[in-house]
Symmetry: C2
Subunit: 301 residues, 2 copies
């Protein structure tokens, strides 16, 4: 396993970002009462209290790299986490991946019911655009509209939804490495990339800087997915919070079935190295982002 | 039945708006190919070729009333129709209203499958925000972001999704007239109101004008829903394209069960009159919008 440079400070920063975005999400997600309250309860259940908040961390850290207003970056981070949470709620539905557990507790439809989970996902997706478009804290309407556009592209039929569509329709099919890479670039890569782009946008990054961040984000997203497949193939349920081996049970093609365990480990390392190399223009200021790439392939959950 | 003033010109205008928004939707919705193409196919199936396009007509006509750029109003109309289409796709799902037919043909999940319908709905909702946030044809970013915000509020947990949540959780419950009115204001009223507000926003309507349009839209939305309940109770499936009596089969409270057929007819007329009265400041320029209120309660499908 590679060693994190300054692991302590990275983990502290990751935890601090998670706490900050948790508070921002709690602020953006009203508590429900009455009959309508059920959908707010389900939204809070799905969006609060879970996950590493890696996407939020990326938005916050790239924002910091470019001197973005922290409150604005935090808002973008919350919007990204809402979209991530909605995608998990819908992916877990019986008609999709049919997962009863998520992050070590019942998935949203298991805790509530299927109809409520569908609606909570819909409402989380909608709220993500609402909180980005709101006049506070992101004052400049040009920035708000650019963020809405970027998030919609990352989340929609060309991005995350399209990736899930390919994934579902590929079940049992013998995807090539290129097809698998395209699938994952959409399904998980697009939102990770948008998180980084949002921070760069809010910090008014120049064109070359934005390109460097995009290259970092793309390699990071791929490294993360290869590592995820490794965890699914070799991890245990107690740590990941989901059933290990679920992918192979369904005869799904993953980076591990395509490359083997050793090949996938080498590929993850190669991608993490590439992500780190992309940050070269930023010097030591980007050390926490470099640690993210190391973390992506070293994590055990 | 009340008689439409200038019925011919209203129906011509309604048809012209439907054709224009159909073309705009076809332009915004790419055709699919490959594995990812399935979600594009389902989006087109759900959004194209159906419905009266009343919401689109309202966005276009209120835009015209205030001299908005027609291309901009048409874009807003398309975004509203995407959200309407997504809501029908998700409402029809087995876990929700479980409707196999919609507009006289198989509903989206019946024509494709449940997972594809969930994804197509998600992607239509996302695309609605994307096409509003795009730099063309609505050039001013402040307008774009105001439209995104308004659409998100109308569609989200406080609006349309919240209305559907109340509707589902109220099944079998003895809703009061006030509760039913609140439910419908969210479930169908909010999007109708946003369609009208979008036209007013794009035409830079003044505050008093915008208030008049909002009052029109609110009364119109209510009139439309009361008339819908009348159609469901008394209409036939061949005309409405759905099973008549579906609501009463499920012991759902509607305006007809609350007010009786005659009472509901009087209420629809009262609301249409109120909608028409709200347009008083605009004189003859608002005649087509007045006809919309007459149409809402006189239609047979």
């Amino acid at each position: 396993m590679p060693v994190l440079s300054g692991r302590g400070s990275f983990e502290t920063a990751l935890r601090a970002a998670a706490e900050a975005v948790e508070a921002e999400l709690a602020h953006c997600l009203p508590e429900g009462s009455g009959r309508i309250g059920r959908v707010f309860d389900a939204m809070r259940y799905a969006a609060l209290g879970g996950g590493k908040r890696l996407r939020a961390f990326l938005a916050i850290e790239t924002g910091r790299l470019f001197g973005a207003d922290p409150a604005m970056a935090l808002r973008a981070a919350a919007a990204v986490e809402m979209v991530h949470a909605y995608s998990l709620v819908h992916d877990d539905l019986p008609a999709m991946d049919d997962a009863a557990m998520r992050r070590g507790r019942p998935s949203c439809h298991a805790a509530f019911d299927e109809a409520t989970a569908i609606l909570a996902g819909d409402a989380l997706l909608t709220l993500a655009f609402q909180v980005l478009a709101a006049p506070e804290p992101i004052v400049d309407p040009a920035l708000r509209t650019a963020l809405v556009l970027g998030l919609a592209r990352a989340a929609g039929a060309e991005g995350m939804v399209g990736g899930q569509m390919i994934d579902l329709s590929a079940e049992g099919a013998d995807l090539s490495l290129e097809e698998l890479t395209d699938l994952q670039a959409r399904k998980t890569g697009a939102l990770i990339r948008f998180a980084c782009e949002a921070g760069a946008m809010l910090g008014h990054a120049g064109r070359a800087e934005a390109r460097a961040v995009a290259a970092f984000a793309e390699a990071l997203g791929r490294a993360f997915q290869v590592a995820d497949d490794l965890l699914d193939a070799t991890g245990d349920a107690a740590r990941t919070g989901k059933d290990a081996g679920l992918d192979s049970d369904r005869e799904k093609v993953t980076f591990v079935t395509r490359l083997g365990v050793d090949g996938a480990r080498r590929e993850a390392q190669r991608l993490a190295d590439r992500a780190i190399a992309a940050l070269e223009p930023f010097g030591a200021r980007a050390d926490l982002l470099r640690d993210t790439a190391r973390f992506a392939i070293a994590r055990d959950h």
